[in-house]
């Protein structure tokens, strides 16, 4: 036990000893959350465009995607991707080895499985958000853009996208808050995030409250910080728009 921890009041000694790795775990949680967010934003934009496109095949694929993902629990999907992904990679590697004598190594570790699963799940929710936001942009503005002879890409970048963002922010914000809490699930497939480390420490010294309450407070801090940040973002993007009194 480090000398510092021996000088801490007796009730907090265990927290002092096992605590520092949990802070690393918190950083890992934030990493997973941010990467998943980026993946979900990308998938969301693609999904929304596909859902709004004139092409029936694209619309069907996108609708199937959002329906399936939102109909299955996060944990089940995560296990399917983690355990199933390993098995699939195993079969693929075996086949490659048998057919071409190439030995490859596809790394489906817990981190990747977690980020991919959460990104995929929230991609479906973001697609719905973006779809609503796209539809909220006034059609007249798009027509005006066409009347000016702008290309579809120019209309998208200069007219639709900036205004769409304003409508999308509340939805993105809500999805982000849920995503942040969903990252706790990666502890179940074995990633050493703060929930898992707290859980191991709690089991080692039989003190669940000592470790889970700080982790809960950490999540509260993250969600409160996010809510404050989202408020600021909403204000910034609503510049020039008259808001209803609420």
């Amino acid at each position: 036990m480090s000398p510092f921890c021996q000088s801490v009041p007796a009730a907090l000694t265990n927290l002092c000893q096992y605590g520092p790795p949990i802070i690393d775990g918190a950083l890992l949680t934030v990493e997973v959350a941010v990467l998943s967010l980026l993946l979900s934003l990308g998938l969301g934009l693609l999904g929304a465009s596909a859902k709004l496109s004139a092409n029936l095949a694209l619309r069907s694929v996108a609708t199937t995607y959002t329906t399936l993902i939102r109909g299955v629990p996060d944990l089940v999907l995560m296990m399917l991707i983690y355990f199933g992904g390993q098995m699939a990679m195993n079969s693929l590697s075996d086949w490659l080895y048998d057919t071409f004598a190439i030995e490859v190594f596809f790394n489906i570790n817990e981190f990747i499985a977690g980020v991919v699963t959460i990104g995929f799940i929230f991609g479906a929710y973001m697609a719905e958000t973006f779809r609503g936001a796209f539809l909220a942009v006034d059609g007249g503005q798009i027509e005006a853009g066409k009347a000016y002879g702008m290309t579809r890409w120019q209309i998208f970048v200069r007219i639709v996208f900036p205004q769409m963002v304003r409508h999308a922010i509340p939805g993105i914000g809500n999805n982000w808050l849920v995503l942040l809490k969903t990252t706790a699930l990666v502890s179940i497939i074995g990633l050493s995030d703060m929930v898992r480390l707290a859980s191991e420490a709690a089991k080692a010294v039989h003190e669940p409250f000592m470790f889970f309450i700080p982790v809960a407070l950490a999540y509260l801090a993250l969600t409160s910080l996010s809510e404050w940040g989202l408020n600021k973002l909403e204000h910034k993007y609503s510049a020039g728009v008259r808001r209803e009194a609420n």
Partner: protein
């Protein structure tokens, strides 16, 4: 159905024992979700009423409860309740022990509290958007606050809350899969057991995913039917 029996007889993963395991997982999930929603819903109604009270001594504690349960992951809440209760001095000898001993009841308590918090927030939002005209009319009739809440505000709030509540029900169904982490054999728990026995992740988890999908569709259909009936007055005329 010959092809079905032939299919079932052929493989080792979907045999009578494993299907029985899935079935018991299914019933556990349905029981857990249903009871959590009922308990949480019943808790949420008085909490929502307290939350909209103008007295800060009444509304702040409710705000705190909602903030805590919505701001932390359900997994942490479950761990705290499941592991935390065993540490209370003498709990094993008290008459509450049969309630906490089995994994089902701690899960039920955690899920009920969690859904109570979310439902309170949904109801609060619905109460806050009650049309001013209705409230003024109630006051003009000389209704007391209690009567006004019971006859006018709450019924219309329930209707307005329906779409958001439908969402909450489905989210609760999905969240219930976390119960498998504390050894409760719900649908997800059954899938994990089968996976561990046969090393067949696709069969185990896809089968269970399919079942969840069916339940979700059934719930969506049910709520859509409810919405058509109860929110008919809010539909566009054409």
């Amino acid at each position: 159905m010959d092809w079905l029996t032939a299919l079932l007889a052929d493989n080792s993963i979907f045999n009578a024992t494993t299907l029985a395991h899935y079935w018991s997982g299914f019933t556990t999930t349905v029981q857990l979700v249903f009871l959590s929603l009922v308990a949480g819903g019943m808790l949420a109604i008085p909490l929502a009423v307290l939350r909209v009270s103008p007295n800060p001594w009444i509304s702040k504690p409710v705000w705190l409860f909602v903030y805590l349960f919505r701001g932390t992951p359900l997994l942490i809440q479950l761990y705290l309740i499941y592991y935390g209760v065993t540490l209370i001095e003498g709990i094993q000898d008290s008459l509450f022990w049969p309630v906490f001993q089995d994994a089902f009841y701690p899960c039920l308590i955690a899920f009920a509290l969690n859904t109570a918090a979310y439902t309170t927030e949904i109801l609060r939002g619905a109460i806050a958007t009650t049309s001013q005209g209705e409230i003024e009319a109630a006051k003009a009739y000389g209704m007391s606050k209690g009567l006004m809440m019971r006859r006018i505000i709450l019924p219309s709030a329930f209707r307005r809350a329906l779409p958001a509540y439908a969402n909450e029900v489905i989210l609760m169904l999905h969240a219930s899969s976390i119960a498998s982490v504390v050894t409760l054999v719900d649908l997800t728990g059954a899938a994990r057991d089968i996976y561990a026995r046969f090393y067949a992740p696709f069969e185990a988890f896809m089968f269970v995913a399919l079942i969840y999908l069916c339940i979700t569709f059934a719930l969506i259909y049910l709520f859509r039917a409810l919405e058509t009936r109860l929110l008919a007055h809010l539909k566009p005329l054409s």
